[in-house]
Symmetry: C2
Subunit: 502 residues, 2 copies
């Protein structure tokens, strides 16, 4: 009995389905009919060299020939096939680790092996998006115990590459839980700490929902797309780097989980801890501070919550061999004056250059965080460490070190200026009592940040400022008149993002 | 300040994304750039008359013009737009009921209002597939209490239309939890019960993962695509109907939940109970039996589990105003001999016609279930009810009633014959001690069932049969030589689906 080959010709659809490989088949093609394939069926596609699991979308019969199978970008890329190549098609095998997901849904704890298998399969694109969503929902809401979070962290580290730093005994890092516009301390902290002799190979993310990530801000000043080898070279030379983490993908499983987590707006605390720590550990870090801003518009809203999170970070870190110090900081208002990559870079440069007009809040936070890193190095007093950090900044050593890093990463870019700007003035008398961080962030995004590096805004006031009509509130920057109009229109409809009282 | 209209021209992609509306936009189009839209962003699309929420997929820049927005079938259908029409595009508003999903994930119980809002939003296509997956995962694993299941049932009933049966005090129904190939008792039970005077407006589903659903089997004999009005007419005339439930969509929310539940292979018991009961209640039923086959290859595997499920069905039913009687039945082996729509129809006709060769197991189950319905009507003894059912069958009244129903639904079709058949013979001596129901179902599906109504298979043995080499095991039916070869190839690779010992 001859085996009928179930094959169709590959055809690139040009659709980005991110990490979930998708195939498109005609509903009347002989394979859909004979196998009973329909929408969302999970299929195994194979060439002679590669096999992948995909989710099926069914297309109308006129879309392409019934001899063809359409592939999304990630499907084509993972199958490494060219248009016209025959792809064999069958039902996807059952992914055994999905039974552990079910086990978790049904309330049981998972052991290390089970978690490792789930994460391995997710990294290998064996899970569909809805299966990842199911796993995340089963783990969110404090449903992971400490042991599970430890195992999840380890599994995520194992899913990617790991940087090794030879003879160095201590490798430092810093992280911020996020949520505050303008809170761009990383370039300052990394420069101060490495000027003091600490090794701090920092990788950062780009903005996803905010007007700038550290990687976007740094991109307005230098090249951030470093390979692992380039990161090693820069760190060898300067003791530090300020690179984009996405280019090296130290924790590939995390990338896939975070995407779905964001779409679901789920802040699973176990997931968060494993996500942060796995990247630190993969970067070879042994000591890290974690900045947890606490405030009603920040990510963490109460002190109780912050303390609980802090304790878990420390415990899980310890079990995974990394020393974590969490710092609870004021999360009540925006930091600095610039929002958007180039505007934030401007604030940072002003702090480095010790301008009298440099944002004090940004400088003070950076010094506080740096002092904590220095204190972790050799256990000197925190006050002494703060003096050391301050002296490094004011002596110009931090700026020198920052320029060394930029130079090692490919040179310093000149900050650009936006094509359009608009100054918005206060129309009433009073004191600014609140700024809506979320709306402010949206205003900067509508103006074009972070895609246009020079777009964004500059605050001329902050919480506590006293205003009279005609005072400048903020300047908006954009690269097109259309974006400027759109952003201003949003502002005029949301004028209460600045609460002015009295 | 003029508002810049965020509009692109509609363009039909011809992609079936089932219930999740999807839009396709170029990554370089001005709207993606200025709004920061990316893969999986939730968007609000609007014409002058309609608004929908969609999930964004990003396409490569050469795929279509940057002035266009591609729409999946369901997106186009719900937006009711034509190609070229300008669609306005903005960020989707936050769907408030998602905060209740988060509440459930975090371990709290939901009240009736909260559940009602979730189900309403799901029915209105406000949830993405991953959001539905998250909701289901949060509710699965016995995480819904009885009150939540009651509220879920009520919410699902409210999401669709409801049949009303005037003066009739009692409206009957039957349901099977499923899992056993060939267990096609519904046409027999409905005919016997309605011949006895019961009102039983039965709607059934098509196969999704099995070789036939009752609607597929009935389709080989008559028209099953009835509108609500036609169902009322048929029931007015005959006291019963055997229609496809999908055509009337009595519980639209259920359709959306079941699709994701199946993809996740999640049998959430709360979800299952609400799904079954909401359809019964929407069909106007006041009394229903539920057949729960128990066996190691059936859906319910232990008596404990079956009893627990049975208790919950009864309790939730009571709270929702419907009397439920669960019947635990033997789920250890296939029922009847035919698998696939026409082959199952053949068995049913043989039982109706009281052939000596008609499958006794199918007949006995149908009589047992019918007796329970009759017993629910007037509380006569079960033995007496069984006598009545048996007499209705053997007197030909059941067959007559069945033909009345077929005639009211549009007439009786002649059963077709498959183009190809193949008889597989036993090659060894012994007794059949086990049949793998799942593999048997797959064999019938590979031969073409249920898409080709005449494809499938006929068992010549069952568990307990004694064989000598050369005895017929089964006959396979298909409409093409290719499907026949493919199915046989599968059989030869899975020959142990029949366990023959001794």
């Amino acid at each position: 009995m001859a085996i009928i080959k179930h094959g169709l010709k590959a055809f690139s659809m040009g659709i980005d389905t991110h990490q979930e490989p998708v195939a498109y088949m005609r509903q009347d093609c002989h394979i859909c009919r004979s196998e009973g394939f329909g929408l969302n069926t999970r299929l195994l596609l194979a060439t002679e060299d590669h096999k992948i699991i995909v989710t099926l979308n069914v297309v109308r019969n006129e879309s392409f020939s019934e001899e063809q199978i359409g592939l999304s970008d990630i499907a084509q890329q993972r199958l490494q096939c060219i248009d016209g190549q025959v792809i064999s098609i069958s039902h996807a095998p059952i992914v055994p680790s999905l039974s552990y997901v079910r086990k978790k849904i049904f309330g049981s704890s998972l052991n290390g092996t089970e978690i490792a298998k789930i994460i391995k399969d997710i990294s290998n694109h064996q899970y569909s998006d809805i299966e990842i969503a199911s796993f995340l929902s089963a783990c969110a809401g404090q449903r992971l115990n400490i042991e599970e979070i430890v195992n999840l962290t380890r599994a995520m580290v194992s899913s990617g590459k790991k940087l090794v730093w030879g003879d160095h005994k201590r490798i430092f890092d810093k992280h911020c839980i996020g949520g505050l516009p303008g809170n761009r301390t990383t370039p300052l902290v990394v420069s101060i700490a490495s000027a003091a002799g600490l090794i701090i190979p920092k990788t950062s993310s780009r903005a996803i929902t905010s007007p700038a990530g550290t990687a976007d801000t740094m991109e307005s000043l230098t090249n951030v797309n470093l390979t692992l080898q380039e990161i090693e070279q820069v760190v060898d030379k300067t003791g530090a780097c300020l690179a984009w983490g996405g280019a090296v993908n130290l924790s590939p499983a995390d990338d896939m989980l975070i995407r779905i987590e964001r779409a679901l707006n789920l802040d699973g605390e176990g997931q968060l801890i494993a996500s942060v720590l796995s990247k630190k550990i993969a970067a070879g870090s042994t000591h890290s501070i974690i900045d947890i801003p606490v405030g009603k518009t920040a990510k963490v809203r109460s002190l109780t919550e912050a303390k609980r999170l802090s304790k878990m970070f420390t415990e899980v870190g310890k079990a995974c061999g990394i020393t974590i110090r969490c710092l609870l900081t004021d999360g009540s208002k925006p930091i600095g004056a610039g929002i958007g990559p180039a505007q934030e870079a401007k604030d940072i440069i002003a702090v480095f250059e010790c301008h009298s007009a440099a944002p004090q809040d940004l400088r003070d936070r950076a010094l506080f965080l740096s002092a904590n890193l220095l204190n972790m190095r050799n256990g000197c007093g925190l006050e002494e460490a703060l003096e050391e950090a301050t002296s490094i900044l004011y002596s110009g050593k931090a700026l020198h070190q920052f320029n060394e890093i930029l130079s090692a990463q490919g040179g310093k870019k000149t900050l650009g200026a936006a094509a359009y700007s608009h100054v918005e003035l206060a129309t009433k008398q009073g004191t600014v009592t609140e700024i809506d961080n979320r709306k402010l962030a949206k205003l900067a995004k509508l103006a074009g940040a972070p895609f246009s590096l020079n777009s964004g805004l500059r605050l001329h006031v902050n919480v506590g400022s006293n205003l009279t009509p005609g005072n400048r509130l903020f300047t908006l920057f954009s690269e097109s008149q259309g974006e400027m109009n759109y952003a201003l229109d949003y502002y005029l409809n949301n004028i209460k993002m600045f609460k002015i009282e009295g």
